[in-house]
């Protein structure tokens, strides 16, 4: 099981699509690591600089419908090779969400008001999150605030995290 804690990259927008997460021009890469410098390269978000803002971040917090569009698993891979193993959002596009769990990485949904709170309280400061998948609990921490939040994760999704993803799970069961 991967580590699910670290500094937070806040992406204050809904409907961030997989073309923005990793543009199609990099889909010719066969090695995942080659995606590393291109994560969020085409993201339309004022003030966002992928070169600076991604460094040393391990968790993305964002709004609605994250990962819509193309089915490319290159999107979670581009996050993964940058050390980002968790995305927390109000909602996800189906394929992206499944791709995350299939890679053994949690895509966690929280109610809109919780996400709003996180943005309001934390997004201006360096923020650290740790996720406890077993306890279904998130702890968010900055210099000035601390917040504990519960979340729900289905048993199937948990099983995927624990076996490291869908290939491992399917191989055991089918």
């Amino acid at each position: 099981m991967k580590e699910f804690k670290g500094n937070v990259l806040f992406l204050d927008r809904s409907d961030i699509n997989t073309d923005e997460i990793i543009p199609a021009r990099y889909l010719t890469e066969i090695e995942k690591i080659a995606l590393k410098p291109h994560l969020l390269e085409d993201l339309k978000l004022d003030g966002f600089d992928p070169k600076k803002d991604i460094a040393a971040k391990s968790i993305v917090v964002t709004r609605e419908n994250f990962g819509c569009g193309s089915s490319r698993e290159h999107a979670p891979w581009a996050l993964e090779v940058n050390g980002i193993h968790v995305v927390i959002a109000v909602s996800f596009a189906r394929i992206f969400r499944q791709n995350m769990f299939n890679c053994g990485m949690p895509a966690i949904e929280l109610p809109e008001n919780e996400i709003n709170d996180m943005f309001d309280l934390f997004s201006n400061d360096l923020t650290h999150i740790s996720v406890d998948v077993e306890k279904e609990e998130i702890i968010v921490r900055s210099e000035s605030h601390i917040k504990k939040t519960g979340f729900r994760m289905s048993s199937f999704d948990k099983a995927l995290i624990q076996t490291g993803g869908w290939v491992g799970y399917a191989d055991q069961h089918y």
């Binding site: 409907d15 699509n17 073309d19 923005e20 543009p23 199609a24 021009r25 889909l27 010719t28 890469e29 066969i30 995942k32 085409d42 339309k44 609605e64 419908n65 819509c68 569009g69 193309s70 089915s71 490319r72 698993e73 979670p76 909602s91 996800f92 596009a93 189906r94 394929i95 992206f96 499944q98 791709n99 299939n102 890679c103 289905s154 048993s155 199937f156 099983a159 993803g165 869908w166 290939v167 399917a170 191989d171 069961h173 089918y174």
Partner: protein, 429 residues
């Protein structure tokens, strides 16, 4: 309580229900292309599991970048080609016989009512036009599909969208689906199946139904689906005539996959398209939709007619009808890509390609090409395209480019004008 078509397909393919809320389904088809499959192949090789669950159920094409544009895309093709050979996959479509996956596979008769289909491609929902449950998946799901012939899905909650009324001249399936996406929004149908019903859908050809289902994912849906009927039987007849004595017999067999009258839907919505105008998109989301009349005058640099949405024969016929006798604007680059070799050949025989060429279009071989901004017509920063494709995301057809989605008729008319414009088919001119 009756069942929807999706529920029926799920029941017939159920392998396991781990933890109750997830259905692991047996797959009838696993489709593969060269962008998302090579990584799955490599992973299988690294795991020492370089094998496939059933070579007859796996269909493979090189379509996204064809011919290869550089060494990297050549390598993707090579990995796919060698894997298909090694594993005895007969239906592998290499350059010369290849076309856009979601146009080619139906045309080859690989899709049937009641099938479960996955592909590492979000527009796999296109195949729902035949009454199949067809879903786009990522590379890991694809990998497991290839190896085990199964895939996991949540229960298929369904939205019933009834398209009714009488469709005006010059208004097409593309305009209808843009309307549906505008109403549902880009995530309005996430994790849902959209069942397209109503007299308009009943009257549609398979080409039109494929345009409709193709963009279901643009509203977040897992699959768009139409109920199989005589139109479906007619389309498939050349492939199924050995199985059934008559078309009626085939129709009766397919009736098994029609939703029951008392099936339960999460939402039922009726859209009357009698007053629908041709539509186009603005901005970077497919639910940013406006009437063409409100966007008219928007200057464009390139027109692209093709893709899994609108690169089929009917689409080319409509565009050619608009273009015939006209020359496209000086400042517009027109590109048309018939979606498969068969469509290409038919368009040639019907004289459509000549019309495109006389109008000043470049006719390319069948490929995804410009649709995803990888080859064959990538936009420069600041350029604007009028396109019959399905995504207007930022950078989709080239970094810094803007894409307006529209029907082939509107795209052809816009090419002539040099700016977004309604076609004479709609305005009656």
């Amino acid at each position: 309580m009756g069942k929807t078509i999706a529920e029926k397909i799920f029941e017939m393919h159920l392998v396991d229900e781990p933890f109750g809320d997830v259905s692991v389904l047996r797959l009838d088809r696993v489709f593969c292309h060269e962008i998302t499959t090579p990584t799955a192949i490599q992973d299988l090789m690294e795991r020492g599991k370089d094998r496939v669950f059933d070579p007859d159920k796996i269909k493979v094409v090189i379509d996204h970048v064809s011919p290869a544009k550089d060494s990297k895309t050549a390598l993707q093709g090579k990995i796919l080609r060698e894997w298909a050979r090694r594993n005895g996959i007969q239906d592998f479509f290499d350059i010369g016989r290849n076309g856009v996956c979601h146009a080619l596979f139906p045309e080859k008769g690989f899709v049937r009512p009641g099938f479960t289909i996955i592909m590492g491609d979000s527009h796999t929902c296109t195949h729902g036009a035949f009454g199949a449950f067809a879903a786009g998946v990522g590379t890991t799901d694809l990998e497991v599909g290839i190896l085990k012939g199964v895939c996991a899905f949540k229960s298929p909650q369904t939205y019933k969208i009834e398209i009714i009324g009488t469709l005006g001249k010059g208004v097409f399936a593309k305009d209808i689906i843009l309307k549906v996406i505008q109403e549902l929004t880009v995530n309005g149908a996430t994790n849902r199946v959209i069942e397209f019903r109503g007299n308009i859908v009943d009257g549609m050809s398979m080409d039109q139904r494929m345009t409709l289902c193709n963009m279901a994912v643009e509203a977040g849906a897992t699959c768009g689906i139409c109920l199989p009927d005589m139109t479906t039987v007619d389309y498939l007849w050349e492939f199924i005539q050995d199985q059934y004595h008559t078309k009626k017999e085939a129709l009766d067999a397919f009736a098994e996959f029609r939703s029951d009258d008392d099936a339960a839907y999460e939402i039922t919505r009726t859209i009357d398209v009698s007053d629908l105008e041709p539509l186009t998109t603005y901005g970077y989301k497919p639910d940013n939709v406006k009437p063409v009349s409100e966007m008219k005058g928007t200057r464009i640099d390139q027109v692209y007619i093709g893709s899994c949405t609108n690169g089929r024969l009917e689409d080319l016929r409509i565009a050619a009808k608009v273009l015939e006798g006209h020359i496209i604007s000086d400042h517009v680059r027109g590109i048309v890509s018939p979606a498969t070799p068969k469509i290409y050949a038919e368009a040639m025989e019907e004289g459509l390609l000549k019309i495109f060429m006389d109008a000043g279009f470049c006719v390319t071989n069948p490929t995804c090409g410009a649709c995803l901004g990888m080859s064959n017509g990538v936009l420069a920063a600041g350029e604007v395209a009028a396109s019959t494709t399905n995504r207007n995301f930022n950078g989709r057809m080239g970094k810094g480019g803007m894409v307006h989605l529209m029907s082939p008729a509107t795209a052809a008319a816009s090419a002539i004008k040099g700016e977004i414009s309604n076609s004479g088919l709609y305005t009656g001119n």
